[in-house]
Subunit: 606 residues, 2 copies
């Protein structure tokens, strides 16, 4: 969360920063700000609570500079406000700092060194910039030395990407990175720094990846990197060739709707990338061997990716016959289960930057276990640090509520499951004709996305004013139910819980009252009758029920009927009406669909 | 759910039925009814929506009989109403039936045989009683033959405990049982039948257990049992020696408060039962050997017991070094994971009657795997059918919201974990001094239950009007958070979710707004700082935070400080403030604490 951008050597620095922040807005949008200066010593600090558009309005035409830093915030310490917005400035007005991450010992540092300083914010970041000023003044250090001194007193558990500017040294960015993502972008006579390449793809495609512990001094002509031991080093360059326009929403009112609509195309793209003409799967043999030689798969993820992992368990167990556990990343990191002797780890992360997952991957690497990251972002941290990577090929996902990344994750898991099963010579895997099945899925998805009008009506009828809602299902439908519930709650703020149908009566059914919406997902023949019984139980208590049912199991009064697909691939289709119900519920209620309150797309703090 | 009682050979039949229903009210209380008749052919059918007290009011002094049936309902098909209440009667007024369970093919049976019949209710049960009349009339069968004919057309997946009366054959009860619990109680010149021995402990302690498929004809003098093949059989008698008065609430306003208060005493009782003077654990060696020889423990449970199972996983993995999975019973039954080659199953169920768990146990027995039931009720179905039983010794738990059964389950799991570890010679288990630790726990519990006033104030301040709430924690505190959330929501109807602290930001934090109560549980040194960071995140978004913190980790502003206990036993203590907050929130909001709407204590349908 929080997005950072910095630039030096561009006369249009203000526009570079604002454009970058707009592209980074998915990372947080509580408040934002920029600081710019020029070689004549003129400078400007402008901050605003709320979204980037409000910041842009506030910036008058006289604001200019050749270099600057910008920040869009997702609050960790202190409420969203102009005071708490970045950049933060030292009391003497000399140093300006933007920060993404969390400083563990900020309160101690403040107490130890800065008892004489007047603070204007409640943030951990202001402590850091005041501390730079303190070491520069009290110990007579130059800026780089003062900055490094500060880094040396920050405790080990802290995470940060810092970009510091010194008013007396215009055109220079002082950068440090630990755990939080940060890239340097290189251009002719200018350089930039950013949390995500997306921010600056309009001016460069040439990037340098930084490593934890790096400290960097950037001018228009030079990127000077020191590693954590203070040695000058060079880091490798890489090219990001995503088309900048792929992240535009075109004629769509919201990114989320565009991304929902793109799902059939993503299914086809994945077929192209991973499947051979004969329907067999083409994946790195070395990785498959590593999985085949392991006893148990551990899937580690958070949020929507965790829900995709739950579906993955069904696929890995039923198609590839590998016992699989799925763990919430933030829980696994500090309380791992007893592991099998030969585990294989799979990390799911749309952004590839999820801090909770990365914390686990660091441990997995220390233990020397093999790992795979399934992500949408090449060269992301989790991709670089895992043994293997599989890409989602979903194109940039901008809406905070994940849609196409979820279905892409499930499809890639299905592909992987088939590949493992194929290598193990399992009949079920060999017969699992993904070429055909994913084509059926893409067609079924298309039918569902074309039912927008129906979903809009249902959202209007059932979800317009309710305070709460439930999704229920059994087996794989339960896995979808909890993802569907998250989708609805994160953008419509209706408190929604996903429940195993059979578990509802063990307590939670107390919450069902006259008019409570309950949405049942029914795609499994074996349990359809049981789930319908549970539906009767909630109807008896006054619930308004929507049924999402696979064609062959459907009955007259079912409102949403999904076309028949392979029983293990139903999540790819049954989630779509849920995505659309969430979308229209949020829109109907007048919320910002793409940027729900309190959230950030890429969660880079623990 | 649903409670049944039947009696024959008692002039006080009406009182026997009403007393029985009052004792069974925990099984459902949407509506209730009785049917009685005498040898002179006079009969009465009285039904009422709502609780038993309302039914009792409605029964005038002229209502009498020597035999009868009674029922308290938890709705599965059809809303709670007088029409849908049991007993149901055939159109010709001859047959009367009470039923606990669900008939899978009732709609088909109705369509096939009963198109000419006028139905007064929406229940599956009425179909059955009309069908008895249909076969008796159309095929000229006697009552027993017509009843057995009906049982033969009911589909395999159905569950039932039926008690049927025929007006023309007073003093005779026709009984059938499949999956749903039913016991026969025996007396001098009278017999009774009931869902739970508790119902009739005031008149007999001598019981006969029935087996699935049994059909029984009961008169004052005789209990004639036929098994599923129609063979006359005898079933074994057993004595229930629970003191009937242990289920009285005495001076307490509610059972729940009494049961919360009993928890320190339950801890001491468990020490007495399971621990030797030297602190070693005394448990069946054969069972321990079976667990020691297994590769993996599978805990299967529902609701609160499932949450106790999550704590059990920590204990079995950390103390006994046995990899452990915990599964929701209703999910496992129809979608089991890939099992280890040598699994050991543990079933947790307060009542020992949970239908979802029983469905799994039936499969486990078919697979021939060893199993243990941990339950509060000796001779309950899950106890009888598992290889081994450990009892909770918690005394009858009457409030629907489970409290002392939860802590007793956790304590028994700790005892079992030590016993396994002890047998395996693990140092950590040998050093785990449960004698000392459970004494510390009992003392800490006592301190917490004595803080009622503080909890009442906090409930008043934070939970009086809110529409939603969250509990958060990490590791073992997360396990407690979801149980704490269930407690609050099931009796106060505040929609409460328990969340892994680190997972909240991956979507659900969107629901936090000004004034949302968030209750954080912090007992683990390793993750305390991380959870406090997550607390800062929700405070920054306006949440009202209550912190439940273990003494050594507590800070000035923490509202609830729990005494120091063993890090793996903190759930036994940290749950108590949560139980009390739930209790007072429900009471403050004016609800029936002991009998929340829609719920039943013993869930005997799937």
């Amino acid at each position: 969360m929080c997005g950072i951008v910095g630039v030096t050597g561009r006369q249009d620095a203000v526009e570079v920063l604002l454009h970058g922040l707009e592209k980074l807005e998915y990372r947080g949008y509580d408040s934002a700000g920029i600081y710019v200066n020029d070689l004549q010593g003129q400078d400007y600090l402008i901050k605003e609570q709320g979204k980037i558009a409000k910041l842009r309005e506030k910036i008058t035409s006289d604001v200019h500079g050749d270099a600057g830093i910008g920040h869009t915030r997702w609050a960790t310490h202190g409420v969203p406000s102009e005071d708490n917005a970045h950049p933060h400035v030292s009391e003497n007005g000399r140093f300006y700092l933007v920060h993404n991450g969390v400083i563990g010992n900020f309160a101690q540092l403040k107490a130890e060194y800065l008892s004489d300083v007047n603070f204007v914010s409640a943030t951990d970041t202001e402590v850091i910039v005041q501390l730079v000023a303190y070491f520069a003044e009290k110990e007579g250090l130059d800026t780089l030395a003062a900055f490094k001194k500060v880094l040396s007193v920050v405790d080990h558990s802290s995470s940060y990407a810092f970009v510091l500017m010194d008013k007396t040294q215009p055109n220079t960015l002082f950068v440090a990175k630990n755990k939080s993502p940060l890239l340097v972008g290189v251009g002719p006579e200018f350089n930039v720094v950013c949390s995500d390449a997306m921010a600056v793809l309009n001016i460069t495609h040439d990037f340098i990846e930084l490593t934890d512990g790096d400290v960097v001094v950037i001018t228009p002509q030079e990127v000077a990197i020191q590693d954590k031991n203070g040695e000058a080093v060079t880091r490798k360059h890489f090219t990001v060739d995503i088309d900048a326009s792929a992240s535009e929403k075109g004629a769509y009112e919201h990114y989320m709707l565009k991304e929902i609509d793109e799902q059939p195309a993503v299914m086809r793209a994945l077929q192209q990338v991973y499947l051979n003409a004969d329907g067999t799967v083409e994946i790195d043999d070395e990785m498959l061997t590593a999985i085949k030689n392991s006893e148990r798969i551990y899937v580690v993820a958070a949020g929507t990716s965790y829900h995709a992992g739950l579906v993955g368990r069904e696929l890995f167990e039923k198609i590839a016959q590998v016992p699989t556990e799925v763990h919430v990343a933030s829980e696994f990191a500090y309380n791992p289960p007893l592991l099998a002797e030969k585990p294989f780890f799979i990390f799911l992360s749309q952004s590839g930057e999820t801090a909770d997952s990365r914390e686990v991957l660091k441990r997995v690497n220390e233990w020397n276990y093999p790992s795979l990251t399934i992500t949408n972002v090449p060269n992301s941290t989790l991709s670089r640090e895992a043994s293997y990577t599989m890409l989602l090929h979903a194109g940039p996902e901008i809406a905070v509520a994940s849609t196409k990344a979820y279905t892409a994750q499930v499809a890639v898991e299905a592909i992987l499951a088939k590949a493992i099963g194929q290598m193990k010579g399992l009949q079920k895997a060999i017969e699992f004709d993904l070429k055909k099945e994913l084509t059926l899925v893409a067609n079924a998805m298309q039918i569902m996305v074309d039912e927008k009008y129906n979903m809009e009506m249902l959202a209007d009828e059932y979800l317009k004013t309710t305070r709460n809602a439930f999704y229920i299902g059994r087996g794989i439908d339960y896995d979808v139910a909890i993802e569907a519930a998250l989708k609805l709650k994160e953008i419509s703020y209706i408190q929604t819980e996903g429940f195993a149908s059979g578990e509802l009566k063990h307590g939670t059914i107390a919450l069902i009252e006259e008019g409570t919406p309950v949405i049942a997902i029914i795609t499994n023949e074996l349990t359809a009758a049981h789930t319908r019984s549970n539906v009767q139980e909630v109807i008896a208590r006054g619930a308004n029920v929507i049924r999402i049912v696979m064609d062959s199991l459907s009955q007259d009064q079912d409102q949403i009927v999904i076309p028949e697909v392979h029983p293990l691939l139903t999540p790819l289709v049954s989630i779509i009406p849920a995505q659309l119900l969430a979308y229209y519920a949020s829109k109907n209620r007048g919320y910002d669909v793409d940027k729900p309150r309190n959230l950030a797309k890429s969660v880079t703090v623990e």
